[in-house]
């Protein structure tokens, strides 16, 4: 058996940042090296600034009371403000606040950071790329001129299968689930992990928002979650329930 990868156009780079492998796959023939350098430098700055695992990050300093939120970096203020908005938009299901009052905006930061990396690539004149971090991604343009990007949505019960394939030329795709890292999403209202939902995939223009919506819809559970996603403006959703029922919103762009 021989599989051909011969001479894919463009440039690919993978680095481990923010606890995740970040895959950048640029298919333009243009020189992408300097833009990729800027992109990964910027992600490392995001990690140093936002990580609650780093003692000197601005978030850690805010949590220790050493830095006032109003005095934080503009990007920190923007992210925290957006987290507050998202808490309202999601009826409190997306919440950066832990029960002890500390904040951790990580649920937004990864997607927001990848959105910004897309802007870096755009500014460099690149028009065909995918940026993925831990299974959430932005895609733009085409992998090769005659094809669109095809993103498989992993089947949460059977990992050799995909549950859907999304085709896109300009889209953010985020999937939230309990199957890979254990119950890392919980219902902030009950303090318990949700039951009955295996995964929620949200697609739309911004990855930060899509990721937060996916987290929230997952936490809402099998009754409210799919209904809530059906009313999102500009975003489409696919929810897979424990009984293998799949709910997709009307415009979900799978084939």
């Amino acid at each position: 058996m021989t599989v051909t990868i011969q001479e894919l156009p463009g440039t690919r780079r993978v680095e481990h940042v923010m606890g995740l492998p970040i895959v950048v796959d640029v298919r333009d023939d243009d020189e992408a090296g300097p833009a990729l350098d800027r992109l990964f430098d910027w992600l490392r700055w995001v990690d140093a600034t936002f990580s609650t695992f780093k003692e000197n990050s601005e978030i850690s300093r805010i949590n220790r009371g050493e830095l006032r939120r109003d005095d934080a970096h503009l990007d920190v203020r923007r992210v925290l403000d957006r987290c507050d908005q998202l808490r309202d938009e999601t009826r409190g299901y997306f919440d950066m606040r832990a029960p002890d009052g500390s904040i951790d905006p990580a649920g937004l930061v990864k997607g927001w950071a990848i959105d910004r990396t897309a802007a870096i690539l755009d500014d460099a004149g690149l028009r065909n790329y995918a940026v993925s971090g831990g299974g959430d991604m932005r895609v733009l343009g085409r992998p090769v001129p005659e094809l669109t990007w095809r993103v498989g949505i992993q089947h949460p019960l059977d990992r050799q299968q995909v549950a859907a394939v999304v085709e896109a030329t300009d889209l953010a795709i985020a999937t939230s689930g309990a199957y890979a890292r254990g119950d890392h999403v919980w219902n902030p209202h009950s303090g318990l992990p949700p039951s009955g939902v295996l995964s929620v995939t949200i697609v739309g223009p911004e990855l930060g928002t899509a990721d937060a919506y996916a987290t929230a819809a997952f936490a809402m559970g099998p009754e409210r979650g799919p209904q809530w996603t059906a009313r999102l403006a500009g975003y489409e959703a696919m929810t897979i329930l424990a009984d293998e029922t799949v709910f997709k919103t009307g415009g979900f762009p799978d084939e």
Binding site: T4, Q6, R12, P143, Q154, V162, R181
Partner: protein, 140 residues
């Protein structure tokens, strides 16, 4: 709303020959040089479950016709010599996920799927290690 599960990927058996031979053929009009080399990816960590590393064998064919030179590369084998293997969870990954992951990787290369969206797991470590092996191959 529809009630459906769409099953798209079937598992492909991975019976891959490892090609180590170096062959060269010469004709009067063009010259073809075939070289197979092994490339090892970086060790990628799988969260708290350990590390894995991917090795690929790439066959590089250089065809020289007059002053024109064409280079093509094909992956002829994928293997995972370093597996995460120190918790029950890792054993689960080894027994089920990795053989499947290989199939997914090869399928993605056949242009059917470019990316996979899902919750974070060893697939990322696999992709990361594979990617670094491919990058090394492309630079050779």
């Amino acid at each position: 709303m529809r009630k459906s599960i769409i099953v798209l990927i079937t598992v492909a058996a991975l019976a891959l020959p490892v090609v180590d031979a170096t062959a060269a053929t010469l004709t009067t009009t063009s010259k073809k040089i075939v070289v197979s080399k092994r490339f090892t990816g970086s060790v990628a960590s799988v969260d708290r479950w350990g590390s894995l590393r991917v090795t690929i064998v790439v066959r590089k064919t250089t065809t020289i016709t007059g002053t024109k030179k064409k280079v093509t590369r094909k992956i002829t084998a994928v293997s995972v010599p370093v597996y995460p293997n120190h918790t029950d969870r890792s054993i689960y990954i080894n027994q089920t996920a990795l053989p499947i992951l290989k199939a997914e990787t090869l399928r993605a290369q056949s242009a059917n799927i470019n990316m996979v969206s899902g919750a974070t797991d060893s697939s990322d470590a696999f992709a990361q290690s594979l990617q670094s092996a491919i990058l090394k191959a492309k630079r050779s």
